[in-house]
Symmetry: D2
Subunit: 395 residues, 4 copies
């Protein structure tokens, strides 16, 4: 019997709500305390794809917060995201994973050269891999969203960026991109779960390509945009002309606090607006707002109002209200991405993994925003995984 | 230059809201007074399919109502469905088509043998074809929904049904099925736009098959169910477990008055509930109601409340409110069906045209209820139409 | 210092969700673990009214369920109605009150004369009062809703009813009315929290009047109807003509299961529809539905769609969605009613306490359904309580 | 028989949507072509108040637009606000009133001293009164909302302002206040229908007081705020703690275009937020947005999401969607204000007419924002009007 490869999941932002729910959820599945709700890769289509079982994943990560996974889990209990019983039962597992968390870096100037930071971060990941004798590690950035980055010449090619790093440059890259470079230099597949620049800079993408590593991103599609990605194609298929699509997003929690910063929110709003334009074309009045409402906690509420025209120009409307728990929607997707990227890495796929567009608001490598088409691409990837062809480039 | 074949559209219920909007809309398109909003077959995918131009369609139909198309059009103006200016400009066209409407039969016992009724109805259609030198006619039943039919042995095979008809039986078939048999015996492609039994009886389907005619149905998907057919697959693709899906439909107008009858509403509710079960499986609590609210007129309002479970069983909800004008949603689909069935007939496709499932709540010939999959089937049909293969059976 | 009178609260249905939340909440307030959210009688207007402090209330009740308050409290924790921590902290208080619960009677035939049942129930209440040396006890029926009662001649006067009871009649009264008679014969003020017949039968009302006891009811106004009672007057004050008011109520929990019975639901629907007619007059199309959706548990969701006419007949709409936790809405009102009825009893007010219409969907003694007018009546009652006039009849 | 006093209604912004609907509606009522829907002063409570019949009102106004009432009325027909038939029938009446419209002034610098502008505006009103031999004229400003005004020392007292005007100052007052001063100097009762500064400047209020004229304002309460003014008190009366109240307003039309200017929108947002704070106190997270969605035209859609806490801190929500036609909601209120101010003027009431708070988002002279309390104040005013006391000050 061939031995199952050992796979690690390294989460940047490892003590945040999404990471904690991910780690807790994986432990709950292993313990038989939870079912696979929300886990796409547990659907029958993925059974023959050779994915690593969730039970076998080993977790670690970076987080500058001095708090603990346990403390965050208790907050999630208080907010109604996870049952108290679950945290009590899995106390030991949380403590064990917490020992695998390294401080990493916070947002803002690091006070030392970027190259030094990258080497330290990559070192943390490498030690984690060695310590647990892992065949491979997938790095997923689930840390708070950053503001859009100011474009610089060095961001455009790895050759230039590399030179500047070696020359001792500081503050050349945003934190998310430092993590991405570190992950890739450590030989890991990588995913951007947020709209932060991360692996989206051309220089970083080139690096991944050169190292033969797959990457995916960005900005996971968990709520309002998920719904948009099926409703917008519906209007298009029916030739119903959408005139306006207005949206208001209310959220509390850490994500809400971060997005209360108008500059940061811009990253998110830009990412959220892509699906509409891609599917419906221009000419749609589409105001969108994100408001921080602390008492809602992790419960995100979105209202969308769509006005459209039917035959003979008759005006009609569709409204929807989405009330979802952000961490519970995000966490299983983190597990899905780890499993899919690990398998891609294993069979030698590399570059932008556009077949993972299904998971993202702003998918790398493709302009396809229709959920059903993204689903078919994902299923084709699963089929490829079942009978992997010889090594080929991913995107 | 090969001459364009001449095509007729024969509407059962020709003076109802849907038929009137269809006829008025086709005239408006011809006159350049309206755009193609809502017309699926005007999307670029259908350009090479060889469909008859909407401008060339010749309309006629059956309706026992002593009123007129013009009168109904004025009602539609009062209800805000169509602009007053349009009816004023197209007055002559409405009067012209009205002359092509024959009384047909009302619901309830006919007072004479079914065979005599069928022959008369088929005669009306045949005369219409001859009078206008049409190459073919497509019959679409847009009359009010009937109550579910009591199954009888004669409904099961055309051999038996035919025998009983020849023997002078009365009240063997509901009105919708008398129309369907007449259409087929007149050599026409046929579509059920409502959930009435119509062409769904096995005996009638056999007849269409034997005569080499294509048919489609049933119950056009115009509003709430259309939305369901994209949202339900979204939950399925994301492995989000739907626990309940409750719906309340409010509508006035003729359709509302008909559905105020609990027995008739049953036809509709049965048809509406299919998509959910097909896509999500069992175990979903799914109460649904239809209420007659006269003052809403043709404006149908539906509220759906969906509760689902995310990761770790966290309960979440999605609600939507659809406010659509029923006739304006239905009319372009009637034109789409006429064009597609005419082309299928022309190239010799026959039997249940399951590729038209995109248009129906309860599609004949298939259990596919996911809109995107239905769309792909429809596009494949359009491609077939572009380069028709030798004559083959449709479904 | 004059000693504070000692007051008991006897709950019929003492182990149900509403009663458990009431008892737990009172204990939480006493322990300083919860604030007065939802408690009307803790608003400043009621400070001088001489009401018994919530902290001083002594609880007991009837419930045929063999389960326990603690078990029910744990269910409420699982359903997200009350925090786990609260139940853990107040474990002892729940156990103590549970000892004060007597089996009482279940719905359905009792198998013995009504008079015997009443005497036993009244005996339970009397013993509770004696055991705790209470000055007075208020009985509130929070048990499951019963179906509407078949009217009988004996229900019309206490003289007749009394005669029939003494003659050994069986099954003359529904369970709720047996409880009401027992409460009154035990000398207690009484309130119907549900639409069950309870104290609404004329014979029972006469008995309360003769015994000089105040009573109130019926069917507490906790959610959708509360909102209606401010929106309907808004339309009326603005001369906006309401054309239709449709409603769909989704609820799980014990209440939902009970109301899944169409006959029982009728009690509720009748009660719920009163406010509209009273405030807006006739002519409003007002379909209403209650559906049992088990997975919603105690969380009641209601959607209301109101269509109305503005100036020149322009049609407009207002929709609202209410998502409330039934027990958490009901429990503080139980405490409010106990405090207000105890004070009324203390100062000698008797008969129908119409000033409590603020709390009810179907208020005894008045046709006033506008919340603001009811509020003013309640404030006047509080003022009366501050400086009680000589004994007078209540309603 | 005593002769009915003759009353004029002078509308600033006389060719806008609100004014046109007002003028058309009054003509429709006179012609028996429309009912009194939306007219508060036609409710039975106002029958004995001695108000001038709507039929007797004589209309005129200021508007710099070179367009016509008829043209605007046709736009309203196209937007579904008023029936085409109505405009056709009342063509002559619109043309007649249009002759009574004077250009007035546009927003922005006038290019001449404010005093000259005021005198010209007052002259227009005076000539209108003389021409029609009116006993009195009520001026209502229904022109587009202005940005908040920069406060100046001269705005604080009429003595100072008057001096500066006489000294030839320019651009001292915003257009709305020039109109207000002109109205008062012309001896007219005055109302601010928008949040523009208008009559709210202390200097202008003093002038009205000195001249013994009644005035009212500001910012008519037509939609979302109307609903708020009954829902917020509901939460307060029930001791339910509101945690957040978020709102999104979508509107097209002229009002929408004006409010697309962020500075102008600020006037509106400030005015809209008052009711919440006044009724619920501080501590409510209350983000609010206004978006310009051109295709919605005069149809304003607002979504409000309210999160509140029940007993034991349980979080609950109420959402509502308001879909109203702004002009049709506003127009009858203009007629109500004219009738009530004319009567107040007639019986000698003067100063801020706080009893008209019922009509306004930001009422002058009072902090009362609860609709029911405002309604009671209005009814008391109507009672005063029935039996007017000797001359007294209004507020």
């Amino acid at each position: 019997v061939p031995q199952q490869p050992r796979t690690g999941a390294w989460l940047v932002g490892a003590r945040g709500s999404v990471a904690t729910t991910t780690i807790l959820g994986a432990a709950a599945l292993r313990a038989g305390l939870a079912g696979p709700s929300g886990l796409v890769t547990e659907l029958p289509d993925f059974a023959p794809a050779g994915l690593v079982p969730v039970d076998d994943l080993v977790f670690g990560g970076h987080d500058p917060s001095p708090s603990s996974l346990l403390k965050r889990a208790e907050n999630l209990v208080a907010g109604g995201v996870v049952p108290a019983q679950l945290v009590a039962s899995l106390h030991d597992e949380l403590v064990t994973v917490d020992r695998e968390v390294r401080p990493g870096i916070a947002a803002g100037p690091a006070g030392r050269p970027d190259r030094a930071v990258i080497d330290e971060l990559a070192g943390d990941i490498g030690e984690f891999r060695d310590r647990h004798r892992l065949d491979r590690v997938v790095v997923v950035n689930v840390a708070s969203t950053e503001a859009p980055v100011q474009e610089r010449a060095e961001h455009r090619s790895w050759a230039e960026l590399s030179r500047a790093l070696d020359a001792g440059s500081r503050d050349l890259l945003p934190a998310s991109s430092l993590y991405a470079v570190a992950a890739i230099e450590a030989g890991c597949a990588y995913a951007d779960f947020t709209p932060s620049p991360g692996g989206r800079l051309p220089a970083v993408q080139q690096l991944a390509y050169e190292r033969g590593l797959p990457y995916a991103g960005s900005d996971a599609k968990t709520g309002e945009t998920l719904v948009k990605s099926v409703l917008a194609p519906m209007f298009a298929m029916r030739a119903l002309r959408v005139r306006s699509w207005a949206g208001l997003n209310l959220l509390g929690g850490g994500d809400g606090a971060t997005l209360a910063d108008a500059e940061v929110a811009q990253s998110k709003l830009t990412s959220k607006s892509q699906a509409l334009t891609a599917v419906l074309g221009g000419g749609v009045t589409a105001p969108m707002h994100i408001d921080y409402v602390p008492n809602l906690g992790d419960w995100k509420t979105a209202w969308d109002h769509i006005s459209f025209e039917g035959f003979l120009g008759v005006p009609m409307t569709l409204q929807f209200t989405w009330q979802g728990c952000d961490s519970a929607l995000a966490a299983p997707l983190v597990l899905d991405l780890v499993r899919l990227l690990a398998r891609a890495h294993e069979i030698g796929k590399f570059g932008a993994l556009e077949e993972l567009s299904f998971f993202f608001k702003d998918p790398v490598g493709t302009d396809e925003h229709r959920l059903s088409a993204q689903w078919e691409a994902l299923r084709r990837l699963a089929a490829d995984f079942s009978e992997p062809a010889p090594v080929s480039e991913a995107g």
